[in-house]
Amino acid sequence: MTPLLQVTGLVKHFAGTRKLFGRAATVHALNGISFGVEAGETLALVGESGSGKTTAGRTVLRLLDADQGAVVFDGIDVLAADRSTLKALRRRMQIVFQDPYGSLDPRMTIGDSIAEGIDIHRLLPRSERPGRVAQLMTEVGLDPSFASRYPHEFSGGQRQRIGIARALAVNPAFVVLDEPVSALDVSVQAQVLNLLQDLQRDRNLSFLFIAHDLSVVRQMARRIAVMYYGRIVELGPRDEVLEHPRHPYTTALISAVPEPDPATQRTRIVLPGDPPSPTVPPPGCPFASRCFHPAKDARCESERPELRALGSTEVACHHAETPAA
């Protein structure tokens, strides 16, 4: 079965500011990532800040222009789409942003914000618009009588619901959720996550769920892709990745998740140092400088490991067969 969204070898580099003397440093944000998202499923993209996960989400939606690679959505080449094809695609691929404060225009009523996609694509006659807005607001758990209010009157969680309603207004099949709950309180996080899951079931939505919090990912994802330094280092079914991590970076990430039971013994792996500079890619494994794997050797420094199948997962590590910890 071909997935709804297929991403192949996506590369995105940012040209740095040119200095008066010397060349501009290029930031290697995405270094060739590939993944697929099937209809109705959630693929989580996890990794630390700067790992390229947000860039990945934006590039897939063509909010950023890719340098190389392919994005195919339902048989349509997204990166090569002309203006009208792209506009039609925008109705089917949507995004919910991390920041609930910056993502709503302070000068627009929330009704107008929610209906923005309807207005852009002229989906409904004027007379049906208020009814549709009310229906969307109810669907995301907001009181429709608030439609004429302004964003500053709402809490972070409510704003995130507004942002979700705005994305849903054009009836998308695929939504990029760019850290949709990381700016919210834990109690509110759970409500928004539940809402997203309900919406996914009711509308058969596909999610690309970008997150750094593995406990949130555990609740949402069917499959997980772990990103490090602009690459996917491990990709597989949720339980397999979380219970039997093959890449040492995944192991370290999992060890950082807070454990609610104080009686449980666990070892926290603290990674020394920082990832390599994004302007100077190392020749070998980008994780080698921080790797604690007992089998780490000279090959890790010189030869870059490619993603390869191992059981039901794919891993980019020369020593994935040997347990890391």
């Binding site: 925008r90 995004i95 302070p106 107008d112 705005r166």
Partner: protein
């Protein structure tokens, strides 16, 4: 949409200082439009040779050394000063906003080109540019003077608007509009322009005071409004030598400038607040 202009004005009216500003500004405009019909001929010199007289019932603002009625001259001067200020500022804000929007939104080489032009223009004092133009074109008609003042006043505004647009472009709602398939025009008119308008309003307030004073300075140098046409600035500068013996010759046109700038400030503050849904 927030704000049709009417709603914004109504909100500004609800604000006490905005109401005062609007009332004063309205009175000034009425004074400028209707005043000259009822008042004495501003050019008449009925008692030439008697010198300046202090305010009396017949001449509430007094008369100048050539016995011209200062109230009548202030009213006629209001027409000149207010229309120069209003139209020139409207022109410079429109041009500055448009250029700032284009530069900030499109970026790349058009941005660099426009901003280098602005850099260059800002490096030369405005008065100097104006003097050059006015020396080349003596006895400039009023319309041309407005054009020249307007077209030399947009540089700062374009900078401000560009900076605001750069900030707004990174906001989530602008990205969301793009993701929804919004065309450039939609983004500019629905999101960027309304959100940058606060900056433009502040810029307008500052500019109106500036332009009234600039016109005064130009008139003083003999290259702005040509006597005997009175403008407030010209009146103040004409009377500068009489200040110690006939202070009313300076005080009334000076007060007119002061009150205008003050009223514009009040109105602009109120408009900015009225325009922001957070303070409604």
């Amino acid at each position: 949409m927030t704000g049709s202009l009417l709603t914004t004005l109504r909100n500004a009216w609800r604000n006490p200082s905005g109401r005062w500003g609007l009332l004063i500004l309205g009175a000034l405009i009425l004074f400028a439009v209707a005043g000259p019909w009822f008042l004495a001929d501003p050019a008449a010199m009925p008692a030439l040779g008697e010198g300046a007289t202090a305010p009396t019932l017949a001449h509430p603002f007094g008369t100048d050394p050539t016995s011209r009625d200062i109230l009548a001259r202030t009213a006629t001067g209001a027409r000149i000063s207010l229309s120069i200020a209003g139209l020139a500022v409207l022109l410079s804000l429109t041009v500055g906003t448009a250029i700032g929007l284009v530069a900030g939104f499109i970026g790349g080489w058009p941005d660099s080109l426009l901003m280098r032009i602005v850099d260059g223009a800002l490096a030369i004092p405005r008065l100097f540019i104006l003097l050059l133009l006015l020396v080349v074109w003596e006895r400039m008609p009023l319309g041309a003077l407005i054009l020249v003042i307007g077209l030399t006043g947009w540089f700062g505004t374009s900078r401000l608007v560009r900076a605001e647009v750069l900030r707004l472009k990174a906001e989530g709602y602008v990205q969301a509009a793009r993701a929804l398939g919004a065309a450039r025009r939609w983004t500019i008119f629905r999101h960027l322009l309304p959100n940058a308008l606060g900056v433009v309003l502040v810029s307008a307030t500052l500019a109106i005071g500036d332009v009234i004073l600039l016109e005064a300075g130009l008139s003083y140098l003999g290259v702005g409004v040509q006597p005997p046409t009175p403008s407030w600035g010209l009146m103040v500068f004409d009377a500068r030598n009489d200040f110690s013996i006939a202070p009313w010759t300076v005080v009334f046109p000076g007060l007119a400038i002061l009150v205008t700038v003050l009223a514009v400030n009040l109105v602009s503050d109120a408009l900015r607040a009225a325009f922001d849904p957070r303070s409604a």
